[in-house]
Symmetry: C2
Subunit: 209 residues, 2 copies
């Protein structure tokens, strides 16, 4: 694992990737770091610094070739491979994530889901079968799942994470409103919607009359 | 608007807030920057730098008093005020966000929702009434909505953002998979689930046999 690259630089690579795809869709072949940074409303020094962790891209005074940089970032982020994922908790959020096209475009395929609700168990939704949470360990092994996406309520999240750490799961994307702690074996990324909203209220408070 | 504070520092404040609440729930009155940083698996220099944008907290060699720092961060992030929000697009994700307790804890109240589906329009779900998207401008004005949360499909997002920019909306939290661009009047935060997942695949690719 490359320890030198800051956490946030890795997250920003995804934003660069999405912006580059936008440029490519509009048939723009080459972008300057300034254009890309302006489009994303970020500092272009930051952009160049982030990319510099992974090598030299683009030509000085010319810019980055979109298509080559897209491929390069995809490789850096591991998005040129395919991954199998499971959604744990098939409520509104679990469903939304199960059907989220963006994940498939990244090579992450949600193969199964788990829930406690008898009405959902053993049913299939858009090709995703819902299993009982009791079968978690068995199905994860059988389906060779690498990534778990947790959307269960807060009180259930830690127990699920503990059970997952005993399976061969390699990474957890956690949407439950609790900071799950990583064991040495398993990688956890905690997602907090409130954090994105607080960014807005931070700025709004300056505008409020 | 304080332009000197980096975007990511503001986002990180929310993580610090959540972690401090965890400490408080466990009856821990004072934490050191090292404890807090270790808990969040981040660098404690980063933590101290982020907080330093907003003043001096804690006593050297003693640490931060949890409860006072929680209040201070809430004030910084505008979470000591109340805000009215609307969810636009009442699909799985829209519903999940409408019922997300974390928003209310932050003082953000989702008052109404909008959709194009006749089956949902004019119905109430957990106290949130769904209106036709045609009534967007009228209801936003009537309900004095300040924040819009967009969860419509990609193809519809730009039109909605344009319509919102003509209302008195002050900020948009955008979950549609497109980078919406900010006009001078309106603040936009784009959320990308793929970005969080790519952080995991970035690290996983080093682990793959």
């Amino acid at each position: 694992m490359n320890k030198k690259v800051p956490h946030d630089a890795i997250l920003r690579l995804s934003f660069y990737l999405r912006a580059l795809k936008n440029f490519e869709e509009e048939n723009i072949k080459v972008v300057s770091s300034k254009q890309l940074a302006d489009f994303l409303k970020i500092n272009h020094h930051q952009l160049r610094k982030d990319l510099s962790y992974f090598g030299h891209f683009g030509k000085k005074g010319v810019g980055y070739p979109c298509s080559a940089l897209i491929d390069k970032i995809k490789t850096i982020l591991g998005l040129d491979k395919t991954w199998s994922a499971a959604v744990i908790g098939f409520g509104n959020l679990g469903r939304a994530l199960s059907f989220y096209k963006g994940f498939r475009e990244q090579g992450v395929y949600i193969k199964v889901a788990f829930d406690v609700d008898e009405k959902k168990i053993n049913k299939e939704y858009n090709g995703i079968k819902v299993y009982s949470i009791e079968q978690l360990e068995k199905i994860i092994k059988k389906e060779d799942i690498q990534i778990a996406i947790i959307t269960v309520p807060k009180y259930a999240a830690e127990e699920i994470a503990n059970r997952l750490s005993k399976c061969k799961i390699k990474a957890i994307l956690n949407f439950a409103p609790i900071n799950l702690v990583t064991s040495s074996q398993i990688l956890i990324q905690n997602v907090d919607f409130g954090c994105q909203l607080a960014y807005l209220t931070y700025h709004l408070k300056f505008l409020k009359p």
